[in-house]
């Protein structure tokens, strides 16, 4: 059977269930693909081939015995900032080069409980600091669509793994853009859940008030399937919501409702013409589906950059304080330049005499941004905007640009700051064959609606899936 690795989770599940394929075959197909492309694309930091095959064999047994765990036997790639018991976890930093966690993150635990076959740990910007995967201490990951280009970040490895069919699906995490932006640059689905919907326990902390783990998949249905597994209250994470977790997969194909979709001109300012064109096409498609558009004037996203920069750097300076090389890992001289720069700025913005002017001010503007969205969502169900201002940039673009990530993520930052949910939907290609993504932003806990409309859009754009990276 050809190209098992290019299956979606839903397709693979179906075939496993019907015993058309085995998990071992599926896992081998992914591992073969990984072996073929790892050197070219540098997607994984650690490949757990043996563990994956062992798990796949066990999964086959369980499948035989009629187990119907939701991810049983499905090969998944996990971003390297999720602590995995007994498997090296580096967050792509040399500080954690030899760190082997004696515990498991809640997300990976849930995935394992659901039967996942973990293929390995994917590359990322070191400490998730960036939007290019170029700041990884293990070298940049390259964009599967064009290896001269970046995959985006920080979940660049996970996005590339999914796009290049090295995995059936992947797990990423977003602080502000780290799921949606690489998904957009790699042409895959990236779902950023509401802050607090998915546990952060065991995820190397970056911006604690923002971090949201989520799926990067080949289809909206797959994203729903994974979210259904990983979402929910975690007694180990006090910021997780105790709201019940909906059956997200039941939102698939349920989109008879006609929605009001907001658009805001200032989300199109400075956006590349190629992206604007796809945005207009997307808008037309939604209109064709019967949805209506409402012009909004959202709070200018450029201020979100300032807010994000201050909050994120401040939290980073504190979150990275534990890395002193005493209990684990290497000492602080192993931090890369980007991490040091962020720690420095965050230390300054929290320091005596500057706290009010920076941190507190940013938290106040955060309040304004939240209220602005609250007002908007009284008028519309969702907001449509480009995920990023440009398609994937070329390698080296982030070099020496201390605000690179922030500028690349300008259109996702406001919603991240407000803790909202959002999804990247592959929506077109540039003339030179790079994917372009659009995002839908929804209120907190509106994932069912986002999944529903996302799926509706996906069905109308099946032709996009026919194109595959030429690798």
């Amino acid at each position: 059977m050809a190209n098992l690795n290019s299956l979606t989770i839903a397709q693979a599940k179906e075939k496993l269930k019907k015993k058309e394929i085995s998990s071992t075959e599926l896992t081998k197909a992914c591992l073969d693909r990984i072996k073929k492309l790892q050197e070219k694309l540098n997607v994984f930091v650690t490949i757990t081939e043996k563990e994956a095959l062992d798990r796949a064999r066990k999964a086959d047994e369980e499948l035989k015995n009629g187990s119907d765990l939701p991810l049983l036997g499905i090969p998944i790639a996990v971003k390297d900032n999720f602590c995995t018991m007994g498997v090296r976890t580096t967050a792509s930093s040399k500080v954690l080069d030899d760190f082997i966690p004696p515990y498991e993150s809640t997300v990976t635990q849930k995935l394992k409980n659901a039967g996942m076959v973990m293929l390995g740990k994917t590359n990322m910007d070191a400490w998730a600091h960036g939007s290019s995967t170029e700041t990884s201490d293990y070298g940049p990951t390259l964009n599967p669509w064009n290896t001269k280009h970046l995959p985006g970040g920080s979940s660049g490895g996970s996005a590339a793994a999914t796009a290049a069919d090295m995995s059936i699906g992947s797990i990423g995490s977003e602080t502000a853009g780290s799921i949606r932006q690489p998904a957009s640059w790699c042409g895959v689905i990236g779902l950023k859940p509401t802050y607090g919907r998915v546990s952060r326990y065991g995820v190397v902390a970056m911006g604690s008030s923002l971090d949201s783990p989520g799926p990067i998949t080949k289809s909206v249905e797959d994203a729903a399937l994974i979210l259904e597994i990983i979402a929910g209250h975690d007694p180990m994470d006090a910021t997780t919501s105790s709201l019940p977790v909906p059956k997200y997969t039941t939102s698939i194909g349920k989109s008879d409702k006609k929605l009001r979709i907001g658009i805001s001109k200032n989300y199109l300012e400075g956006v590349d013409n190629k992206v604007i064109k796809v945005f207009e096409d997307t808008k037309k498609l939604f209109e064709k589906l019967g949805h209506t558009f409402v012009e909004l004037e959202l709070f200018n996203p450029k201020y979100a950059i300032d807010v994000y920069t201050i909050l994120q750097r401040s939290e980073v300076s504190s979150n990275l304080a534990r890395y002193d090389g005493i209990r684990y890992g290497n000492d602080r001289s192993f931090f890369g330049e980007e991490a040091k720069r962020r720690i420095m700025l965050g230390t300054f913005t929290l320091s005596s005499g500057y706290y009010d002017a920076y941190y507190k001010k940013a938290q106040k503007v955060r309040t304004i941004i939240i209220k602005d969205f609250d007002e908007a969502f009284k008028k519309v169900d969702f907001i449509l905007a480009p995920t990023g201002p440009t398609p994937a940039l070329v390698l080296g673009a982030s070099e020496g640009q201390s605000m690179f990530g922030e500028l690349a993520d300008v259109l996702v930052e406001p919603s991240s700051i407000a803790g909202l949910t959002g999804i990247n939907l592959p929506a077109g290609f540039s003339n030179d064959g790079l994917p372009i993504g659009m995002q839908l932003i929804g209120p907190q806990f509106s994932e069912p609606g986002i999944i529903s409309i996302g799926y509706e859009f996906e069905k109308e754009t099946e032709f996009l899936r026919e194109r595959k990276p030429n690798l």
Binding site: C83, P102, S105, V204, T239, R327
Partner: protein, 435 residues
């Protein structure tokens, strides 16, 4: 020159689990690093979830210290680097602590203001050793994350004796609440006085903090030593340095303590991992109901209701167990027509261990030994003092070890008391006075 003294006291709570994780908080004497987990070891991605009981106890302590309990409170991160601090920050409370503006009334009648009572977590324990001829520090994280309450006073003290009285009262209250053993030797209670001298009645522009004090006696000594040391510096027209000093028990003095800890800009900010806390008046009222009657109140009640002396009441209420024991014994004794005063004297004079004795047994003993008159201990004390004063030669002889002199003094005392009383009680009193 007037001493200006304030006090920070840390009290470790005796909850079952630690402040932010499920590790057992009962770490004392355990093998090093056997009570840790990703949370209290500061491993990547581990998150704190606050212990409900610890927070309730902190609020109850605040209530017992007459504090205001704001309805809204939160945790903050206090950022600094030290090897015993696993996360590189301590979760503490900065500008919105659980309890504010309370007070404690001392025996002297003086009222000491409590600035705040807040909740935080303990650090790991450092052990300084020489290993392979190298000065090393070893770290045990069993203590890391154990709930700690910090009680901060206003700079209201001007002498060491009041400080000691305050500490005894605080220890008593904590024990009455049953929230900590407040055992100094085990480090359940840690004292940090800050001392400075004022020549003009204003707050001085420096303060010296003394750490590592593990007994109430040493806190008195350390304060007295600091007052003397700083007085001498000021008399030389020099300025005392603002610094942290440690109490050196062997040398009986404070010593400057320079650690490699970096400059103190703690960069506090609200802990993003822990949602804030909001009380309702109903919840607070419920906490208030759980607070047992406190020593000062019990003392007053015992004096009023049972007619025992203030001296006796003070001794009996020092520990909750003995106060409870006394009351229970009084209740049983009532049927036998035994006066509370008799019971109090008996408990004090015979040093009855309230944790072991049974009230009913005590009543039986009192009845069977009723050939001996039971007597108000303050009366015995008075008479003994009188006898010693009237017989200076015998007193001197006894001091130099002549036991015959003791017999003589006992005889004199008994004669004066005109009642039969155990010699042992008199000997104790004599010893007390002479020492």
């Amino acid at each position: 020159m007037k001493p200006v003294i304030g006090l920070e006291v840390h009290v470790e709570l005796k909850t079952k689990s630690k402040m932010f994780c499920g590790c057992s908080a009962d770490y004392f004497g355990q093998k090093p690093n056997t009570h840790t987990c990703p949370v209290c070891l500061g491993l990547p991605g581990a998150l704190p979830v606050p212990n409900k009981t610890a927070i309730e106890w902190c609020v109850m302590l605040g209530m017992a210290l007459n504090c205001n309990i704001p309805l809204f409170s939160k945790f903050d991160r206090k950022n600094y680097f030290y090897p015993d601090l696993a996360k590189g920050y301590q979760i503490s409370q900065y500008d919105e602590p659980f309890c504010l503006a309370g007070n404690i009334k001392l025996d002297s009648g003086k009222i000491i203001g409590i600035t705040r009572v807040h909740m935080e977590e303990d650090t790991g324990k450092l052990i300084h050793e020489t290993v392979d001829e190298q000065e090393v520090t070893l770290i045990d994280f069993n203590r890391s994350g154990v709930p700690l309450v910090e009680i901060v006073t206003e700079p209201d003290f001007d002498n060491a004796k009041d400080v000691r009285d305050y500490l005894q009262k605080l220890q008593q209250i904590v024990r009455y609440l049953g929230i900590s053993n407040a055992d100094m030797e085990k480090g359940d209670m840690r004292l940090e006085p800050n001392i400075s001298l004022s020549s003009d009645g204003k707050l001085p522009n420096y303060k010296v903090e003394v750490k590592n004090i593990n007994s109430f006696r040493f806190v008195e000594k350390a304060i007295d030593y600091e007052i003397k040391r700083q007085t001498e510096i000021l008399e030389r027209k020099e300025a005392p340095v603002q610094e942290t000093r440690g109490w050196n028990d062997v040398k009986q003095k404070t010593v400057s303590q320079r650690t490699k800890e970096e400059a103190s800009d703690y960069r506090y900010f609200p802990e993003p991992d822990i949602p804030p806390l909001r009380w309702t008046n109903e919840i607070l009222e419920n906490f208030r109901k759980q607070i047992p009657e406190l020593p000062n109140a019990i003392k007053d009640r015992f004096i009023k209701d049972y007619g025992i002396s203030e001296y006796d009441a003070e001794i009996i209420t020092r520990e909750k167990e003995s106060a409870d024991f006394f009351e229970e014994t009084v209740r049983i004794g009532e049927k036998e027509n035994i006066k509370p005063k008799t019971i109090a004297n008996y408990i004090i004079n015979k040093k009855i261990n309230a944790k072991e004795a049974l009230p009913a047994d005590l009543i039986k003993t009192i009845i069977s030994s009723s050939t001996y008159a039971s007597m108000d201990s303050s009366k015995i004390k008075k008479v003994v003092a009188q006898v010693l004063k009237e017989n200076p030669q015998a007193t001197e002889d006894f001091k130099t070890g002549k036991t015959q002199a003791l017999q003589f003094l006992i005889g004199k005392t008994m004669a004066k008391l005109k009642e039969k009383i155990e010699a042992k009680v008199i000997i104790e009193e004599i010893n007390k006075i002479i020492k």
